[in-house]
Symmetry: C2
Subunit: 372 residues, 2 copies
């Protein structure tokens, strides 16, 4: 295949017969037709997207598919986390069947993490499993949710509790799509980029600090940051596809973060990445308090997140925060509590996160009370 | 493990890391607690069953789990094909979450094919995949649906169009459970037993003819028939887990059968196995008409199915049958029609079925018209 504009970066996810590439390029959407025609001859495509992305990016994708004469149908859902619901999944799955897409045809998830999770799950269950392609258009989706095969929807019992492991056949991360993403969502996605540095790669964190200006303004460092984040995620996923071990490290900042998202109603009050930013700051602060990590690391992390426009403390959340007791309930629901202990991702400093299964809930509760 | 009553037969399904055993015994339910306690230490169990089976067989299972001190919760749905629905799947999946069953806990599907398909699908999606155990209580489920990992529900667009491949960890086929199954459902399940002989094992078919009396009355030949059928299914599934090739042979009789089920509204007018019986007779008759198979084989097959209390002709279906045109529409919907041709399982005689992708719809239509 000779693409007009070769991709800037390609990251391979070596999952055996489920292996796939992540193509990172400014025109990944414009060259989608070329990629898909070559990889899936004769297939038809069901494009799942949300109303915002349909307005901002769908026309580019349609032009690209049409230029190669690929058959397609569009399934557009409302934007927002509420679309990760049982009813919406049903609508999408039945629309796939109504369009008579067969097991050799594909779904394309064009959008942020909500669309990737929803469309990926629909692909997992329609006709007992159809192939799908991720075309992530938010920074969060490009560096995190589109890679690794976790798909799903929310339940009244909690986030992402219904779903499937279903790997995409290809990920096309289009850098120009980020131009139409809101700055607030860009910042939220950036929290997940920082996360990879904090987990196990201090060099990456230092590099992010040094190159933040260019990343924020769309220079070559942005593509590199995305590629390095994807490579980090690919590495963890490859080592532990079904999260029976180290994949849990990716939850750094997420136990606090999920609890904060829950008590703020999964609303615009606090985006997922914003919750993660606060959660990472808290995880470092808590580790320092336990004497595990140097406290100057916490300060350095908070400064960088703030510089990127992200919240880092409970006080940064607009409105009245629920009482500590309610936060603790949310934490206990998120994580399996075994023999009265909590599992947390703690850290020995920047790039030195680890899984700790023996965290005392009373210590967490006292810590949160002090942080208010 | 030393079971009080060792299983009569154990069939292994060698699917690598998804391998499992099918245990066939008169008291498989009574020894379930022993098996489960040994295989899944510390796990809790969500038992999914229907109202009929809850009355007839659930008490035995509960006694067995209680004797081993295993924690369990019950999820009971109405009996019948209508439970393979989107709404019912939701009820079951949310009940699993409400019971706080975790990824290390298990679902148990206690019932016929409807329960196996529904509970297996719920297990596939709850918490992105929980393990489950099949405890099939109908003959059809024991010889067919509980083995092979196809799970799913129906859509307005067709049967089994939403689902997942999700292998059970263990299958416990309890022979005594068949005592409370209606004779009509026993006969319907027997059609699938005969099918294995017709596909590729004429010796098995002849053996079934010779031993039918004992099979019908519950002697040792019944256990052997079930074990041989499971072994046949296991062989096909192992060779082609995701039905990309020869697994399609298991659809012998099912193209006609599904069309007849559809036009009779998936109702008590025609059970799945009854449709398969007529479908197998028609597939043989059609193959004979094409000069592919000896017509005395058709007669012999029909005689045996009739002897087992099964219908073999269109006229055997109670009520007015839909016109041939409607049947042809149903056939075209069931199978992918490529370049105007139909895919059918045809045969060169007893034990000599093959996949034919080039069947002329006009020939099928003329044949069906003559069969009325
Ligand atoms: N599957 C995983 O591994 C994984 C990992 C992390 C997060 N997630 C999930 O991802 C979701 C969050 O993802 P998200 O932040 O991308 O949310 P999102 O999909 O809601 O996108 C954020 C907003 O940006 C809009 N948008 C996206 N791309 C745009 C573009 N190029 N131009 C204009 N508008 C655009 C969307 O319409 C939406 O309003 C959560 O549901 C979370 O659970 C999943
Ligand atoms: N997954 C697969 O590979 C596969 C293969 C073949 C069929 N199927 C599916 O299986 C279903 C048909 O299975 P089925 O015929 O077992 O239907 P079923 O589950 O509805 O059972 C038939 C009837 O018998 C009752 N019953 C079952 N066991 C009983 C017992 N021991 N005592 C008293 N009553 C009992 C049930 O309540 C029901 O009324 C269909 O939905 C079909 O699509 C799936
Ligand atoms: Zn996240
Ligand atoms: Zn069948």
């Amino acid at each position: 295949m000779s693409l007009q504009h070769p991709p800037l970066h390609t990251v391979h996810v070596p999952l055996g017969e489920r292996a796939y590439d992540i193509v990172i390029a400014p025109d990944a959407i414009d060259s989608a037709g070329e990629h898909l025609a070559e990889m899936f001859p004769g297939a038809r495509f069901g494009i799942v997207t949300d109303e915002n992305v349909a307005a901002a990016q769908l026309p580019r994708l349609l032009r690209s598919l049409d230029a190669k004469g690929l058959m397609h149908t569009e399934i557009v859902v409302p934007a927002g986390e509420a679309s990760k619901s049982w009813d919406r999944l049903h609508t999408v799955a039945e629309a796939v069947l109504a369009a008579r897409l067969e097991r050799n045809d594909l779904l394309i998830a064009l959008g942020g993490g909500v669309i990737g999770d929803l469309a990926g799950f629909a692909a997992a269950i329609a006709r007992r499993g159809m192939d799908f392609v991720q075309v992530p258009t938010s920074l969060l989706a490009q560096v995190d949710s589109s890679v690794g095969g976790k798909t799903g929807i929310n339940s009244p019992h909690g986030k992402n509790l219904l779903g499937a492991f279903h790997q995409p056949r290809l990920v096309l991360a289009d850098l120009s799509a980020l131009e139409t993403l809101s700055p607030r969502h860009f910042a939220a996605g950036y929290a997940e980029v920082v996360k990879y540095g904090l987990i196990d790669d201090e060099d990456f964190f230092f590099w992010l600090e040094a190159n933040f200006n260019e990343i924020a303004h769309g220079g070559p460092a942005r593509a590199e940051a995305i590629a390095r984040a994807c490579a980090a995620k690919a590495r963890v996923v490859t080592a532990d596809e079904r999260e029976t071990g180290d994949r849990a490290l990716l939850n750094l900042g997420h136990t606090f973060g999920h609890a904060l998202e829950k008590v703020t109603g999964y609303s615009d009050r606090l985006l997922h990445g914003e919750g993660v930013a606060i959660g990472m700051a808290l995880a470092h602060r808590f580790s320092a308090r336990l004497g595990l990590a140097p406290s100057q690391d916490t300060g350095r992390i908070e400064a960088h997140l703030k510089n990127a426009g992200l919240p880092t403390t409970l006080a940064d959340i607009p409105g009245d925060l629920a009482p500590t007791e309610t936060l603790m309930d949310a934490i206990a629901q998120d994580k399996k509590v075994s023999r009265g202990k909590l599992t947390f991702i703690l850290t020995r400093g920047i790039g030195k996160a680890f899984i700790e299964r023996n965290v005392d809930p009373a210590a967490v509760s006292a810590f949160l009370e002090d942080m208010r």
